[in-house]
Each structure stands twice: as structure tokens, then as C-alpha cells.
């Protein structure tokens, strides 16, 4: 019985892969893989249907890159501050408080992006669209700060304390110790946290569905509406698309693309973590 429940997780994985593969397979019977990968238009819901996934990928990467350029500098600074500077009592209060950022439902962040951040950005960049990648990306970045900061801080704390002391003993400041000894020693754990944040940003749905728009567009302009893979799936799901139609299959082909990205990232992080663990034992 217990064993069966363990196997459910395997069945889930098999289920995901089977569902994505089978529906994508019948999608690729109608649309060539070459068109899917090379066409620069994604218009399955229009009369003139084109099936190039690149605009969705570029939208996904654009919001992800913006999110990471917010979350990485902040998250890593916070991690170093919490592990190397903050007194224990301060850390014990601040760390769980920061983790609230990751517990807030994403639809709430979507509201924030659309109703607060975009109007604010409009005062700086008057020609920014009501839907844009910048606002969604920034808010997504705020959301994933704790992924970077908490996991990186854990990695820094896992470095033997004696290394820190050795560095202090040689006359290094906390800053020198942090960046010349601790961060390099914790690098694999920090890389894992960055990869996981990356993977989280790629798969994030509601913020981009609400604030980034629904216009697949092959661009890296952060001021115009775009569409991510996830937002496209939501857009189709909200409509009434009959099962078995080509439109229905597109969401599985899009989902498959997303899954391949996150699958690679997750396995990379798992592999790094495993290597890292062996180093310390």
C-alpha cells in the first residue's frame, strides 16, 4: 500500500509525459516541426494560422530575464547579508518574513503588476503599453527573491564555519570573506538556487497572463505587449476550444516546449546538488 503511494509520483510523471507527447504528436501530424521551430508568427487562433513557437519563447525568455535581473542581485545580496552580516536574531526574523513573498498567490502579484507597477512605469516611460513585459518581469522578480535568497543563504550556511574563521584570522573583512571564500565555496548551491529561480520564472503563469498581454510577438522590447507560453495556454483554456481541434492541441505542444525547458533546468540543478553533497561528505 505504502509502496503504491510512492509509485503514484512515478505515474504522475508518466502521465505528464504521455499527455504532452500524445497530444503534441497529433499536433505535429498537422504542423511540421520545422514550421513550429522556425516560423516567426504564432497565430493559431486567427484565420491565417501560423504555428511558429519562437514568439512565445521570446516572450517567456524576455519576462524571465527581466525577473532574474531583479531577483538575482537582490536575492544574492540578501543571502550574503543574512549569512555573513546579520546577527542571528535579526536573521531569524527577516528570513521567514521574506519567505512570505513566495507564499503570496501569484494572481495577487498579477493585480499588483497591472494596477500599481504599470501605472508607475507609465510616469517614467510615457510610451509604455498598458500590457508589457517590463512590469510583469519586475513583479515576477520580486516574487522569486526568496527562492534565490533562502536557498543561497542555506548554501552559504552549509559551508564549514572554520573557513570563515580562517579568513577572518588572516585579517579579511566580512565583505572579503564573503566574496573571496564563502561565495566561491557555496557556488554550486548558489548556482542551484539561480537555476531553480530561472525554472520558476519560466513556468510562472498568472502574473504574465494578467500584466504582459496576449500578443505573441518576436521581440525583446520590454515596453510592448507580448505573450508567454504559459499565458497562451491560459488564453486558450479560457475560451471554448473543442477537444481534438488543432487549437486544442496547440496548448499541449506549447506545454511540451515549456516542459522540456524546465525539465532540463531541474535535472541540471538536481545533478549539481548531488555532486555538491558528495563534495562535503
Amino acid at each position: 500500500m505504502l509502496k503504491l503511494s510512492g509509485l503514484i509520483t512515478v505515474l504522475t510523471t508518466i502521465g505528464i509525459i504521455w499527455v504532452l507527447f500524445s497530444e503534441s504528436f497529433s499536433f505535429f501530424k498537422e504542423v511540421s516541426l520545422v514550421e513550429f521551430l522556425t516560423d516567426d508568427q504564432w497565430t493559431p487562433l486567427f484565420a491565417n494560422k501560423r504555428f511558429g513557437i519562437m514568439p512565445l519563447i521570446s516572450g517567456t525568455l524576455l519576462t524571465t530575464v527581466i525577473a532574474l535581473s531583479v531577483a538575482l542581485p537582490l536575492g544574492l545580496t540578501i543571502a550574503v547579508y543574512l549569512s555573513e552580516y546579520a546577527p542571528n536574531k535579526v536573521r531569524d526574523v527577516l528570513k521567514p518574513l521574506l519567505e512570505i513573498l513566495a507564499a503570496v498567490p501569484t494572481v495577487v502579484y498579477g493585480f499588483f503588476a497591472l494596477m500599481v507597477v504599470t501605472p508607475f512605469l507609465k510616469t517614467i516611460f510615457p510610451n509604455i503599453s498598458g500590457f508589457n513585459a517590463l512590469s510583469a518581469g519586475i513583479v515576477m522578480g520580486i516574487m522569486i527573491i526568496p527562492f534565490v535568497s533562502s536557498l543561497s543563504e542555506d548554501a552559504l550556511r552549509a559551508v564549514p564555519k572554520s573557513l570563515r574563521e580562517a579568513s577572518y584570522g588572516l585579517g579579511a573583512t566580512r565583505l572579503q570573506t564573503a566574496f573571496k571564500v564563502m561565495v566561491p565555496a557555496a557556488s554550486s548551491g548558489i548556482v542551484v538556487s539561480v537555476i531553480l529561480a530561472f525554472s520558476r520564472a519560466i513556468g510562472e503563469t498568472m502574473i504574465v497572463a494578467i500584466a504582459a498581454g496576449q500578443q505573441p510577438r518576436l521581440t525583446f522590447d520590454p515596453f510592448v505587449p507580448i505573450e508567454t507560453i504559459t499565458a497562451y495556454i491560459v488564453q486558450v483554456s479560457l475560451g471554448d476550444v473543442p477537444h481534438g481541434s488543432l487549437e486544442y492541441k496547440t496548448i499541449f505542444a506549447a506545454g511540451m516546449t515549456l516542459f522540456v525547458f524546465t525539465f532540463i533546468l531541474n535535472n541540471l540543478s538536481f545533478w549539481i546538488r548531488k555532486k555538491f553533497r558528495e563534495e562535503y561528505e
Binding site: 580562517a166 577572518y168 584570522g169 588572516l170 573571496k180
Partner: protein, 254 residues
């Protein structure tokens, strides 16, 4: 003998961790160019005392102290002292070998680099000198680029000593430097300590009575946060004045 090492004096030193008193009224003068062993049972305060000398306790949130620690007459806890500069004058070797996960060369060069030394030739010279001083040069001279963690435990500890020597300190603090090592490595380190005292003032915490007897000129016996007895090592081991010292040395408690 030239007096190149420094003198360390402690006056009425009390140390607290929160409400807990860890050291009580310590008065101790450490002679330059000698080896002073700190002995006593676990938790007696000997490591706390050692770490007091290079302000290693500074980053412990609950740490506080009263009294004075003077190095060559200067109070190291005065606000005029730059703690980083102080520590470059005081090398420290820890209980377990703790080389950085960098190459052998980078480990020894670390202290110079954080001081902002850029002259590559100078760094290379100092690294070589330090490795020779710590009797490691012949074993690693062809492998300076290898990761320090690939060395054996005994070699790692000698590397840590070289790392401390490279910044040219005046005092060396050793916190049970051989407790994690095999007897052969221990013997090598002890030999090294004997060499080093020509140039440096050395303070060593040890659990090992025989080691204290072998390497040190002076011995301080700590018990429950107090300095019970301080004298020349031969006197402590042959004619201790205090009964508690006698009991500890003869192994009646520990």
C-alpha cells in the same frame, strides 16, 4: 636572541556570553619568542582566551568583555585599533585543517591578496618562503596549482600554518592544531612549532598533556573560566603549586 615576537598582556579580563561568564579575572603575561601552552578540561575557557587575543569573538552576537588585552603595550580592544590590521599581525591555526577550496598557491597567497598586494613576484616569493617555513615546500613545490583539499590531513594543517605565516605575523595562535592528525603528522607539526618560536610568539591550546610538555616553555592551566596557575612548563609538570593543577596533570579529572 633577538626579540622579534611580541609580548601579550591580559589585565583583569572578564568575558561573557550573554549572561554566562566564560572567563573571570584573567591576568596573564605571555613572553615573546616562547611557546605558551593553554591547558585545562573542555569548557574551561582556554579556547575563549585564545580567541580573545585576535578578537575572533567579535562576531559572536552575545560576546562582551571587560578588562584589557595589551599587545606590545597597546590595548587591542581600543576603538583606535583596526581589527583587520590586528589580525594580519596575529596568525591563527585551527583545530581541524581548514584550507580554502582553492589551489595550494592561492591558499597561501590569500592573506597577501586581501591586503591588496598585487606584485606577483613578491607574492610568489612569500608563498615559497612560507611553505619552506612550514616544511611543506619539498612536498608540494611541483603541485602548487593542485587543489589544497587533495593534500593529506597533516599536509593540509602545515598548509594552514604556511597560510598564516605568509602575511608575516608576529604572533601565532594555535587552537589544538594536532587534535585531528595522526602521530607522524603531529610530530612534524611539533617540530615546526619548535622552529617557529625563534621568530614568533606562539600560544597553543592543547588537550594533550605530553604535547604541552614537549613543545611549550610556559604553561597556563585554566579551570572553569579561571586561570589557576601559570608558570614555566617544567615547574607546572614537576612542582605544581595548586592541587587542582596537580590533579588535572596526573589525569584525575579531565
Amino acid at each position: 636572541m633577538s626579540q622579534t615576537g611580541h609580548k601579550i598582556q591580559s589585565k583583569n579580563v572578564d568575558v561573557f556570553y550573554g549572561d554566562k561568564k566564560a572567563l573571570s579575572n584573567i591576568n596573564l603575561d605571555i613572553t615573546p619568542n616562547s611557546v605558551t601552552a593553554l591547558i585545562g578540561p573542555s569548557g574551561c575557557g582556554k579556547s575563549t582566551y585564545l580567541r580573545l587575543l585576535n578578537r575572533m569573538n567579535d562576531y559572536i552576537d552575545t560576546f562582551s568583555m571587560t578588562g584589557e588585552v595589551l599587545i606590545d603595550g597597546q590595548d587591542i580592544y581600543s576603538s583606535k585599533i583596526e581589527v583587520e590590521e590586528l589580525r594580519t599581525n596575529i596568525g591563527m591555526v585551527f583545530q581541524k585543517p581548514n584550507p580554502f577550496p582553492k589551489s595550494i598557491f592561492e591558499n597561501v597567497a590569500y592573506g597577501l591578496k586581501i591586503q591588496g598586494v598585487k606584485d606577483k613576484k613578491l607574492i610568489a616569493n612569500r608563498v615559497e618562503t612560507a611553505l619552506k617555513q612550514s616544511a611543506l615546500w619539498d612536498e608540494v613545490k611541483d603541485d602548487l596549482k593542485k587543489p589544497a583539499l587533495s593534500l593529506s590531513g597533516g599536509q593540509q594543517q602545515r598548509l594552514c600554518i604556511a597560510r598564516a605565516l605568509a602575511v608575516d605575523p608576529k604572533i601565532i595562535l594555535m587552537d589544538e592544531p594536532t587534535s585531528a592528525l595522526d602521530p607522524i603528522s603531529t610530530a612534524k607539526i611539533e617540530e615546526l612549532i619548535f622552529e617557529l618560536k625563534q621568530k614568533y610568539t606562539i600560544v597553543i591550546v592543547t588537550h594533550n598533556m605530553q604535547q604541552a610538555g614537549r613543545v611549550s616553555d610556559y604553561t597556563a592551566f585554566f579551570y572553569m573560566g579561571e586561570l589557576i596557575e601559570f608558570d614555566e612548563t617544567t615547574n607546572i609538570f614537576t612542582h605544581p603549586k595548586e592541587e587542582r593543577t596537580q590533579n588535572y596533570i596526573t589525569g584525575r579529572f579531565g
